[in-house]
């Protein structure tokens, strides 16, 4: 009985936050002249219903990058590191994946693996640079990671607009990667791809590391109280490098999954316009940065977003209401002091 009860106790806060946001969103819709009941109804159908469970599959497909970016944020937050640079790390990962996939001759599984590896490295190193700046030069991570998003995005945009542009298509994008490098589809004709399983497996692996290993214990301890962890013999600098590299590498992995599994090329803005990184960050905040919680919260936010599309088709309410709801949920989460970054305060940041 006990584990069940603790699980419920952990859910109480997020549930209050979701309830508050749904109520605030309803008031907001009334204020802008919409019918909240019809809109929420259409949202639920839009997320889960549809012919042949089509909407549910769309939610699953959307959940892959959200859960992945949620995990990337959660890994850093859990140890008390404010990585707001998921967007830049994601973009550089996707870009590196596409470049390697295009540059290597042959194609096939090996190329796909090498492209993914390049994506992990690119995202990881970009995050590692921010960790180095904080640990070596005391540049606050919170601000440096955020600011580093812009050069990363602009650099990728420059490359696909100029040297790497697929001139024939007339669009700011790279050429299409070879068919053999693309991630396999799950089931014939569907849009679900292998990347969805890769992300799910990564979440399980991360949950194991956080809950069952020594590194995971150090992460949790540092996140709850950095000074206590230091006094207990945790090398916070080493932990910081490891955690930030892993966080960035996970973001890079999502970039590779999207490029190899969905777009089959790097398209300018395709990883930033859907706000994967920011949605993932909110997911991590909603679930208190617990890896398995990321899975649940990520699926939930994916459902809110696909639901938004359904709502827009069925009613007059713009689908951007989903974004308002998500932000409101996080605002209500923040009001409950024990949530936040890994549940603890970290000294010396900001």
């Amino acid at each position: 009985m006990r584990p069940w009860r603790t699980a419920l106790a952990g859910l109480e806060g997020p549930l209050v936050a979701v309830g508050g946001a749904v109520a605030a969103g309803a008031l907001f819709m009334v204020a802008t002249g919409h019918d909240p009941l019809a809109a929420y109804g259409a949202m639920i159908t839009g997320a889960l219903g549809g012919r042949g469970l089509g909407n549910l599959l769309a939610t699953l497909l959307r959940a892959a990058p959200i859960v992945g970016m949620g995990l990337a944020a959660a890994v850093a937050f859990r140890a008390g590191f404010f990585n707001l640079g998921g967007e830049g790390q994601l973009v550089l990962g996707g870009l590196a994946g596409a470049v390697v996939a295009l540059a290597l001759p042959g194609g096939g599984l090996l190329t796909a693996l090498l492209a993914t590896l390049a994506a992990l490295l690119a995202g990881g190193l970009w995050a590692l640079a921010a960790a180095f700046f904080e640990i070596r030069f005391r540049v606050p991570l919170l601000v440096s990671t955020l600011l580093m998003n812009y050069p990363a995005r602009l650099f990728a945009s420059y490359l696909v607009n100029h040297p790497l542009r697929d001139v024939g298509s007339g669009l700011p994008q790279t050429e299409r990667i070879a068919g053999g490098v693309e991630l396999a589809r799950l089931g014939a004709g569907g849009r679900l791809h292998l990347g969805v399983l890769v992300v799910a497996a990564t979440v399980l692996a991360a949950a194991f590391v956080v809950r069952r290993t020594r590194v995971g214990y150090r992460m949790r301890m540092a996140g709850l109280n950095a000074r206590f962890a230091r006094a207990g013999g945790v090398d916070l600098d080493r932990l910081g490098y490891g955690v930030m590299f892993s966080s960035g590498a996970l973001a890079g992995l999502v970039g590779a999954v999207q490029v190899l599994g969905v777009h089959h090329r790097f398209i300018d803005g395709s990883l930033t316009d859907p706000l994967w990184a920011w949605t993932g960050l909110m997911v991590a905040l909603l679930c208190g940065s617990r890896p398995l919680g990321v899975l649940v919260a990520g699926l939930f936010f994916a459902a809110v977003q696909t639901g938004g599309f359904g709502m827009e088709r069925a009613t007059e309410v713009p689908r951007e209401l989903s974004r308002v709801l998500q932000a409101l949920i996080i605002l209500f989460v923040a009001a409950q002091a024990r949530f936040g970054f890994g549940g603890g305060e970290r000294e010396g940041t900001g």
Binding site: L84, L146, Y150, R323, L331, A334, F339, G340
Partner: protein
């Protein structure tokens, strides 16, 4: 390339325009910092102001109405921030992030609800801020383009810098505000209303960011673009750090960051790829953080 040739009237004239939004937001951030609140919601407050300005100008029939609605929008969002950060005592970093995302989502939602467009809204009915030409100064070399030919908000930002300098160091409210920031409990035992002062600082930052947004959407251009604040609120957060929460220091930092933005703008005119010139302000801001920490650890 002739480096000195870069310093022409275009560059000098664009400096105040680019520096002003960052300066106004940073002044708001400075007040919060002095009151012991780390406000990273400046970006969202500025975006709300930029959107409010266009709404006000479109429906209110003029730039003044635009500025009014911009300030109100900044205030409204700041009130929400203060409610959650001060009254409900939530984590200010999480709240700041939530406010930024809320502003981004709300402006896009309202852009579609009110104007029925996506991406950007531009209309002849949106009236921009009038430009003031200073007689006498206008004709001067260098100083002319630098000082003359700007909107009222540019001059207002300079006045606000001076006013905040006086408020902080020459007025009892400033003394109390600094006391709250340095040691809230000590200030409280002396009978200072800590929460009231923090509300005041956050609301002031909302109004200042509202003005900053109005300069963006009615001064620098006359349109609203989704997420047009483009990280300027974060640059303002760095300006507060770099200027060590001192009005004159912050002014200096904002002039530097504004200068890199106008330099990037100027270099774009020389056929350099826009993506490279646009990343210049972020790189310089990032670099300034190294100097900030080096100084902080020394003194």
């Amino acid at each position: 390339m002739d480096l000195l040739g870069l310093f022409d009237a275009t560059l000098l004239g664009s400096l105040p325009r680019f520096a002003t939004p960052i300066l106004l937001a940073a002044l708001g951030g400075l007040l919060c910092e002095r009151a012991g609140v780390f406000n990273i919601g400046l970006e969202g407050l500025m975006l709300a102001g930029a959107f409010g300005a266009v709404v006000g100008s479109y429906f209110g029939g003029g730039a003044l109405a635009g500025v009014g609605v911009a300030v109100l929008a900044g205030l409204a969002l700041a009130a929400l921030l203060a409610l959650f950060a001060v009254t409900l005592r939530g984590n200010e970093i999480v709240i700041g992030i939530a406010i930024n995302l809320l502003a981004s989502g709300l402006t896009v939602y309202l852009l579609r609800s009110i104007f029925g467009v996506k991406g950007a809204f531009q209309d002849p009915a949106v009236v921009g801020l009038p430009i003031h030409r200073l007689p006498g100064v206008e004709a001067l070399p260098f100083l002319g383009p630098l000082l003359s030919g700007h909107s009222s908000i540019v001059y207002l930002a300079l006045a606000a810098t001076a006013a905040i300098q006086l408020l902080l160091f020459r007025h009892v409210i400033g003394l109390r505000l600094r006391g709250v920031g340095e040691h809230a409990e000590a200030a409280m035992t002396l009978g200072v209303g800590v929460d009231r002062l923090r509300y005041g600082a956050i609301l002031a930052s909302g109004a200042l960011c509202g003005l900053a947004g109005a300069q963006l959407s009615l001064g620098n251009v006359t349109l609203f673009v989704e997420n047009m604040s483009a990280g300027r609120g974060w640059i303002a957060v760095v300006a507060v750090m770099f200027g060590r929460a001192h009005p004159l220091g912050v002014l200096g930092a904002c002039l530097l960051f504004g200068f890199t933005e106008s330099l990037g703008f100027r270099l774009q005119g020389l056929m350099l790829p826009s993506q490279l010139t646009e990343s210049l302000p972020y790189m310089v801001t990032l670099a300034s953080l190294f100097v900030f920490r080096a100084r902080a650890s020394r003194g």
